[in-house]
């Protein structure tokens, strides 16, 4: 009999710390955005903390993940540094992407996070390729791909699951079904009852779990990870959850009701796990409160760290290509070097050198 996460002091503490950190991080981001401190847009996963936390808990540090536009939770659960995440959102040079990627592109390759992704389903083929590499290298690492219900309408999802299936690749597909692809209800985009039913179409194991129950997510992913590590191929897991916030900052929630949102708030994954921990007597109220406070403080520190970072380097042209020993000239056009004019030619103004970068838009 496996000990439940809520019954182990270490696990319960770790799970609560992760979930509260995700929640507090995103609340802070939401508030900073509202105060005009952040640029661009933001996709928040508040309400979905259990799927990121449970899934990553089932992974080893050296396993890899691909994430989505709604990826702060995955990133934190895979062990990212909060200060560097916040620095990225604040467009600082100390951010994970040096301020070039922003919320939708945070990655921490050192922790096996191959990145959030601005393209729906964009990370799924990449996870399959990562799993192929891990297999070719003879390692027992696995790749896990997070994606939403919206991504399951993309061809990339179907091509990727099939490829992983026929090659028995060590990959776990985790669909966080939060019921809406932006405004489009999952029920309207498929005749299947469950996203997990698609697993049968690729002859791989699949199942649906309560994505707001960290225990259920953890157990399902742990089983899929063991399956993959043993060389038995991929699994499709559907974690049913709900995002409390809108799709992004432009969302006015016209496609769902206040009552529906409220009903899901009642199924708060953090609250549920806290109750289980308290009922099991694993941690007491004081210990739980301490974890909450620590998460809040860690996020506050991250904001301070992020704000202290210098702005992004303006050398954009130097950032496009990795330095290559096989390049004879720069692959980024810099225009021709000035040459002496022929005798008698008038020095008429010539347009600016090719490749001169326009003024970068200030965040």
């Amino acid at each position: 009999m496996v000990t439940k996460l809520a019954e182990s002091k270490d696990d319960a503490g770790r799970v609560l710390a992760t979930m509260w950190t995700i929640r507090r991080f995103e609340e802070a981001v939401d508030e900073m955005f509202a105060r005009g401190l952040l640029y661009g847009t933001m996709h928040l996963s508040i309400g979905q903390e259990a799927s990121a936390t449970g899934a990553c808990l089932a992974l080893r540090d050296d396993d890899v993940i691909t994430s989505t536009h709604r990826g702060h939770g995955h990133c934190i659960a895979k062990g990212a540094d909060l200060g560097r995440m916040m620095a990225e959102l604040l467009a600082r040079d100390t951010g994970y992407c040096r301020g070039r990627g922003g919320s939708m592109h945070i990655a921490d390759v050192s922790k096996g996070n191959l990145g959030a992704n601005g393209i729906v389903a964009g990370g799924i083929p990449i996870a399959v390729g990562a799993a192929l590499a891990l297999k070719l290298q003879g390692s027992d690492k696995v790749a896990l791909s997070f994606f939403g219900d919206g991504a399951t309408s993309e061809g990339a999802f179907h091509e990727s699951v099939n490829l992983a299936a026929i090659w028995d690749l060590p990959v776990v597909f985790v669909c966080e079904n939060n019921h809406y692809g932006m405004s489009m209800s999952v029920e309207e985009v498929s005749r299947l009852e469950r996203v997990a039913d698609r697993a049968a179409g690729y002859a791989i194991p699949g199942g649906t779990v309560d994505g707001n129950d960290v225990q259920e997510v953890y157990e399902a992913v742990a089983q899929a990870v063991a399956h993959a590590r043993a060389g038995q191929g991929p699994t499709l897991i559907e974690a049913v959850t709900y995002r409390w916030k809108g799709h992004s900052k432009s969302d006015q929630n016209l496609y769902r009701t206040r009552e529906e949102i409220e009903s899901w708030r009642q199924r708060d994954p953090i609250d549920r796990f806290e109750q289980a921990v308290l009922e099991a007597g694993t941690l007491d109220q004081g210990e739980v409160q301490k974890l909450r406070d620590q998460a809040r403080d860690a996020v506050r520190d991250a904001v301070r760290t992020g704000q202290a970072g210098p702005p992004s380097s303006s050398d954009l042209l130097g950032a496009v290509y990795a330095p290559s020993e096989v390049d004879a000239v720069s692959p980024t056009s810099e225009g021709a070097p000035a040459e002496p004019l022929p005798d008698g030619a008038a020095p008429t103004p010539v347009a600016a050198a090719a490749g001169t970068r326009g003024e970068a838009e200030a965040p």
């Binding site: 191959l114 393209i119 990449i126 590499a133 990339a156 950032a319 000239v329 692959p331 010539v350």
Partner: protein, 339 residues
């Protein structure tokens, strides 16, 4: 011979374009276990154009990896594998099919290094059999190099002869960035020539000048290089001497050599198979005119391109829709008479 230098022990072997590419793939796979090939029908079939013939027997199905007909997954698998330490070489059966794979190529492969702040690069090669002349019609005959050259983060290589194909492919595989490697289908079997043994890479960004002449400069890409050289022979018999410049790589582009050779003759003819509008030679024309090479021009820049039309099936029309040797001769003759 257009390689930049050959070592004393290097020998020459006559090969077709396809054989030269296979030689580079084979040598790279023998030298580096991270290199593997994936694509449609590349195993027992040997690839639609026979480039990987025999490689399955040599390297086995793990490293010569037949895929389903799923271009986006092929491309994405290459991206993911590259991110995790491999050096994948992906083949699209026809370059036209890259349309299916554009998200992974353009939004992922090309941007990861930049977008992730340089934390990781994507060392992959995408081999693209492209171009017209095989009767394959509009969906199997395109020259889409401008798409890729217009995408920051991608490198674009377009060899015109077997020796360059081999040396440039070695460079492409060693490059830490995504490289689009464009192989003209007609060259696979028709182009044959001396190829150095050994796995010497030809650096990316060094144009070749396979012919020198004082009267005009022809800058031609891909299969148009051989047509330009044939045209130059005919022009020579008419007393017109042409310099022929083969950029070999569009990104990085050896702008200095092109400009220098244009200044030397003052007359330039740009030749590409791709459609005219937005074509890569328009970029070359712009580089000439926005540099002081403009002042050396004795006549307006002339371009020969494919028609702004899909490639037709009818063989006569197919031929007529892209530049042929007589077109180059004619354009060159007109150009040297101007103004």
């Amino acid at each position: 011979m257009t390689t930049t230098e050959t070592q004393a022990e290097t020998q020459l072997e006559t090969m077709t374009f396809a054989e030269a590419i296979r030689a580079a793939l084979t040598e790279a796979m023998e030298a580096d276990e991270r290199v593997f090939v994936l694509g449609e029908d590349i195993g027992v079939y040997g690839g639609a154009f026979g480039v990987t013939t025999g490689m399955l027997d040599r390297f086995g199905p793990e490293r010569i990896r037949d895929t389903p007909i799923a271009e986006e997954a092929i491309m994405g698998a290459a991206v993911g594998a590259a991110l995790c330490g491999m050096r994948p070489v992906a083949e699209m059966q026809f370059s036209d099919f890259t349309a299916h794979a554009m998200d992974q190529l353009v939004n992922q492969a090309a941007k990861v290094y930049f977008m992730l702040g340089g934390a990781v690069s994507v060392p992959l090669v995408l081999r693209l059999p492209f171009g017209s002349g095989t009767g394959a019609a509009a969906q199997h005959s395109q020259s889409q190099e401008a798409w890729y050259a217009h995408t920051p983060g991608l490198k674009v290589v377009m060899p015109s002869n077997p020796a360059d194909a081999k040396g440039l492919l070695h460079a492409a595989i060693r490059d830490p960035n995504p490289v689009v490697f464009m192989e003209h289908k007609v060259l696979y079997r028709t182009a044959s020539g001396p190829v150095p043994t050994g796995s010497e890479a030809i650096p990316l960004g060094v144009a070749a000048v396979p012919r020198e002449g004082d009267d005009l400069t022809i800058v031609a890409t891909g299969i148009m290089v051989s047509r330009a050289l044939a045209a130059a022979e005919e022009l020579a018999s008419q007393g017109i001497e042409a310099t022929v410049v083969d950029p070999r790589t569009l990104k990085p582009l050896d702008e200095a050599t092109i400009l220098e050779r244009v200044r030397a003759t003052g007359r330039v003819l740009l030749v590409q198979e791709a459609p005219r509008s937005g074509g890569f030679t328009a970029e070359i024309a712009a580089r000439i005119t926005e540099s002081d090479t403009l002042y050396y021009l004795l006549a307006p820049i002339r371009r020969l391109s494919g028609l702004d039309a899909p490639i037709p099936y009818n063989p006569d029309l197919e031929k007529a829709s892209v530049p042929q040797v007589p077109d180059i001769v004619q354009a060159a003759r007109t150009l040297v008479k101007e103004p």
